[in-house]
């Protein structure tokens, strides 16, 4: 059977980021993958060396629009540890609240996008409508729907008033009920079950060997969660559980993310009800002593690591960012092999790629060297067609 190279260009409507796929397919089965990460590369790490600790935070926040609080928190907590600064408990709790709200909005976003990739647009509309409740809460607390700008070295920039706390608590019951509804839907709905079960399987040993992180790894039974293994912020003071699954396919990842949504609501509610009194910031010194730290954080997509080295001035010497999506790409390359072409959107979406944190993928291989061009739109249409064909059966 002839091998065909299917390049899917960087301009496409499905994923929010520019991605270039070049997949070599043997008929309908995928043979191999490759990587090219340069469409989103901006040079942030170099620019961060020239900005002091106040000016670097807006830049680092904008590494990614979905996990912006993650990048700024992991940097700030690394600098605070080098400076040996202890931030007040109220600041720690508020950072945790914003972190978990960000995780909620990211997982709801992912649920909608994954449903959209299989053609289930109703779920897409529903999850994004419910996500607006989380965005409203974040906007009341911080002033913006994304890029909250709440962190600074030494604590938080804004305090929470009692009315904001009560408004946030009032929104949680409705969200909880909606998420229970989605959990039931994922277990019962034929459309989702057919398209998610058995697709993109990653075994436990492969996940460990290829360095998968986050919900992708936890769905394969790998029990790593930085919030428990290397605790930071308020995670030792709040009761919560790590969610894992054993199936390792897209269905397992969906269940892990929905489980994490429910855990996040519990954490947010606990933190809002038990918010300690006190100041929200301490005065931080302008310069940091010489030091080196590997600061890790559990972003919505997995483990985020900033390697920071300071040199005694008010700027960093080096900040080296390792994003979770980069760690997950090798495993997606693995679980795409021998899958159908029409399943590509689902499998890629299942690791929740945040490509602006990383960059992109080119998939190439061929024995026969014939080329065909397919847009991602056409691929998604194929995937919807497959869904409707399976339903008719």
């Amino acid at each position: 059977m002839a091998n065909v190279i299917v390049p899917i260009g960087p301009h496409h409507p499905a994923l929010k980021e520019p991605v270039n796929f070049r997949i070599v397919a043997d008929g309908e089965r995928i043979v191999r993958l490759e990587l090219d990460l340069s469409y989103n590369h901006r040079g942030i790490e170099k620019a961060a060396e020239q900005r002091d600790f106040i000016r670097v935070l807006p830049l680092l926040e904008r590494v990614c629009g979905i996990c912006s609080h993650s990048h700024s928190t992991v940097f700030v907590k690394g600098i605070e540890e080098i400076m040996e600064l202890e931030i007040p408990p109220r600041a720690r709790f508020i950072r945790t609240i914003i972190a978990e709200l960000e995780r909620m909005h990211s997982h709801l976003l992912w649920l909608g996008v994954a449903a959209h990739e299989v053609g289930f647009n109703t779920l897409f509309m529903w999850t994004w409508r419910d996500r607006e409740a989380v965005q409203d809460t974040l906007e009341e607390m911080s002033g913006n729907r994304v890029h909250y700008g709440m962190n600074e070295v030494g604590g938080i920039r804004r305090d929470l008033t009692p009315s904001e706390v009560n408004a946030a608590l009032a929104r949680l019951p409705h969200l909880e009920e909606r998420i229970r509804e989605y959990a039931k839907m994922v277990n019962d709905q034929e459309t989702l079950l057919i398209r998610f079960k058995g697709v993109g399987k990653l075994s436990r040993d492969e996940a460990l060997a290829y360095g998968a992180v986050g919900p992708t790894a936890r769905a394969s039974g790998v029990d790593y969660d930085i919030r428990r293994d290397d605790p930071y912020l308020a995670y030792t003071e709040v009761p919560w559980n790590v969610v894992t699954d054993t199936s390792g396919d897209v269905y397992g990842r969906t269940r892990v993310r929905i489980g994490e949504l429910q855990e996040s609501i519990r954490i947010v509610r606990y933190c809002l009800e038990n918010l300690p009194e006190g100041p929200v910031r301490v005065n931080a010194p302008k310069t940091a002593p010489m030091g080196e730290i590997l600061s890790r954080y559990e972003a919505p997509r997995g483990e985020l690591a900033h390697f920071i080295r300071t040199n005694g001035t008010d700027k960093v010497e080096r900040v080296d960012i390792r994003t979770p999506t980069l760690a997950n790409w090798t495993s997606v390359a693995l679980c795409l092999v021998n899958q159908n072409l029409a399943d590509i959107p689902v499998i890629v979406a299942a690791i929740d790629p945040c490509l602006s944190c990383t960059s992109r993928i080119t998939v190439v291989n061929s024995k026969k060297r014939t080329t065909g061009i397919v847009t991602f739109d056409e691929l998604r249409k194929q995937s919807h067609l497959r869904a409707s064909m399976q339903e008719r059966r």
Partner: protein, 159 residues
């Protein structure tokens, strides 16, 4: 979950390949050399049970280039193995056959800092665009953009 590794245990196990110090309650830093780093990592995988690579960080500290490999395992401690490379000939053997994720990180570091990983199967462009001139490594401290060179964008038009 297993207990964290202690500094003495790590120092004793790895004493042929580097010196160990405890930099944080769960992180131990080993200073090795480019010749011994491959055996150090193999032995860390077997003797210290470090089966995951977190990341490979690369730093240009003005005088030399440094590489730090961060490993972790079921004991949840982080073992950082640090080496230094000379600026004019930064070469080190690749780890991509021992730890599969290392392949991507090494390509990234090669693109941005110019460290050559000997034996890497596919060391080509990953982060910079295809028009970026060869031998220009943006993350080095002494690199500045040259106004006469074309770095990418629309050819023939002023950037």
């Amino acid at each position: 979950m297993k207990p964290l590794l202690t500094r003495d245990f790590v120092a004793e196990t790895m004493k042929e390949w580097g010196t160990a110090e405890q930099v944080r309650h769960n992180r131990i830093r080993i200073t090795a050399t480019p010749e011994t780093v491959r055996t150090a990592i193999t032995n860390a995988r077997e003797l210290l049970e470090c089966d995951r690579l977190i990341t490979i960080s690369a730093v240009d500290n003005g005088k030399t280039l440094e590489l730090v490999y961060h490993l972790t395992g079921p004991h949840r401690s982080v073992i950082s193995i640090a080496i230094e490379l000379p600026r004019d000939k930064p070469e080190v053997p690749t780890m991509s056959d021992l730890l599969p994720p290392a392949g991507i990180y090494e390509r990234q570091i090669h693109d941005l800092l110019g460290i050559v990983f000997l034996g890497h199967p596919d060391l080509k462009r990953i982060m910079l665009n295809e028009d970026w001139p060869l031998e220009e490594y943006p993350l080095r401290k002494d690199w500045k953009k040259d106004p006469g060179t074309f770095y990418g964008g629309i050819p023939g038009e002023r950037i």
